[in-house]
Assembly symmetry: C2
Homo-oligomer: 226 residues x 2
DNA sequence: ACGGTTTCTAAGCGATCGCTTAGTTTCGGA
DNA sequence: TCCGAAACTAAGCGATCGCTTAGAAACCGT
């Protein structure tokens, strides 16, 4: 399966309130069909007839629910970006220590790109097909994500637990690790999303030279922080 | 600019020897036009008329030189993959120490994905549009690259200079770092391809916990390897 | 300077594209 | 039980797709 289903799509995009129930179901079926097809063949490689057929409808039925093919992509991209951002925000809120925050954020981020690989592919690799207005809105969400990651690194640096030469580039690199999972991951392989999340969280801590300082049980002592 | 130009494309793909000179120039112009368009709008988002226009020819002229649009993609993908692989092979050959090899290979790999971003985008993100036969050939090249990276990590581990929990996953992660550069890099930004190469090489060494062992100046002693 | 080959274009083929129109079926509330 | 709204389909519009055909122009070895 693919994580939680799309149903209801977090919040309305600001459009028509519509009838309900039956139409809502059709709308979700169309989103799911479009998602699968966009992920597999790309936005431009997918025809509206592909989507309609996968959703079990006639080609014209698509346009009862969505004004354009691009609107389907936009809603999928928007929902996916919101999902990722809120998962990261939640992970930050669950902890206070910079290292715990970074570990959990990266774990969530990388694991999501595996577990929801189909959605993640569309989120990460179909942005170029968005309308300019929609693209700008999505770009803002992506800036949030990048800003959050930079903030984590700087907080860890300021707390003296991370050592980072170039925080912006390191933030980008850590995000790259997670994003690229959507490209190579295949479900049913030897690595579970959770395993990937754990390993990638560890790697992120390696990249910031994290060295726990609190209880110096019987390890080497660190002479200074900076 | 975009690294070395495409001219002559390393070696023939096995097809017609053709006339020469004038046709060769037209063929290169078409490859360059297709490359730019595939990178910007994707294979399916590019029409043969786009390519012809960008190359300054009529739509029909494309088919004098290439039998299908997919053949253009295949030759670009093939040339790009060969380029990457040979750069990595050369970097390995220039050194003997595992750490030097890894550093140079990652440096080349990451810097190439920035410097030749247009080509790298097509190489990394348009594989799904290849014919099955062509895709299989390209997949073999990609396996070479992944195998080389794993080999480097295992050699470093065996030499006792790297510590790697999961070599296959770490190899994948290091490649991910470089590959994803093709997605986010924009020329003219604050980071040069060389800077990116240097930083990413450093990060790769962090991921394998590289600690130079030779002169144990006044550092902590490592008790054992495994 | 001529003949054969290569390169190129104008025109267009059938297929498919995103999307619309006109009209039918299905549904839930009064 | 009936009615207006919502959901749906059959058919098809004009545009564009990848690619082909027929024939004109440019080129090169002799």
């Amino acid at each position: 399966m693919e994580e939680r289903k799309l149903g209801t799509m977090s919040q309305d995009t600001g459009r028509a309130p519509r009838g309900n129930a039956r139409g809502e179901l059709a709308r979700v079926r169309l989103l799911e069909a479009a998602l699968e097809s966009f992920a597999r063949k790309g936005f431009h490689g997918t025809s509206t007839r592909d989507i309609a057929e996968a959703a079990g409808m006639s080609p014209a039925a698509v346009y009862v629910h969505y004004p354009t093919k691009e609107q389907l992509l936009y809603e999928l991209s928007r929902a996916g970006h919101h999902k990722v951002r809120s998962r990261m925000d939640d992970a930050v809120a669950r902890h206070t220590e910079p290292a715990d925050r970074l570990r959990e954020v990266v774990r969530e981020f990388a694991a999501w790109h595996a577990r929801s690989q189909v959605q993640a592919r569309v989120v990460q690799y179909e942005m170029a097909a968005l309308d300019p207005g929609h693209a700008a809105e999505i770009a803002a969400l992506r800036r949030d994500i990048e800003t959050l990651m930079r903030r984590l690194l700087i907080d860890g640096h300021d707390a003296g637990v991370f050592r980072v030469d170039d925080p912006p580039m390191t933030a980008l690199a850590i995000l790259s690790l997670g994003i690229d999972v959507a490209r190579w991951y295949r479900p049913g392989g030897e690595w579970s999303p959770e395993r990937i999340g754990d390993q990638y969280a560890r790697m992120a801590l390696d990249l910031v030279h994290y060295a726990p300082k609190a209880p110096p049980s019987r390890r080497r002592s660190r002479s200074s922080g900076a």
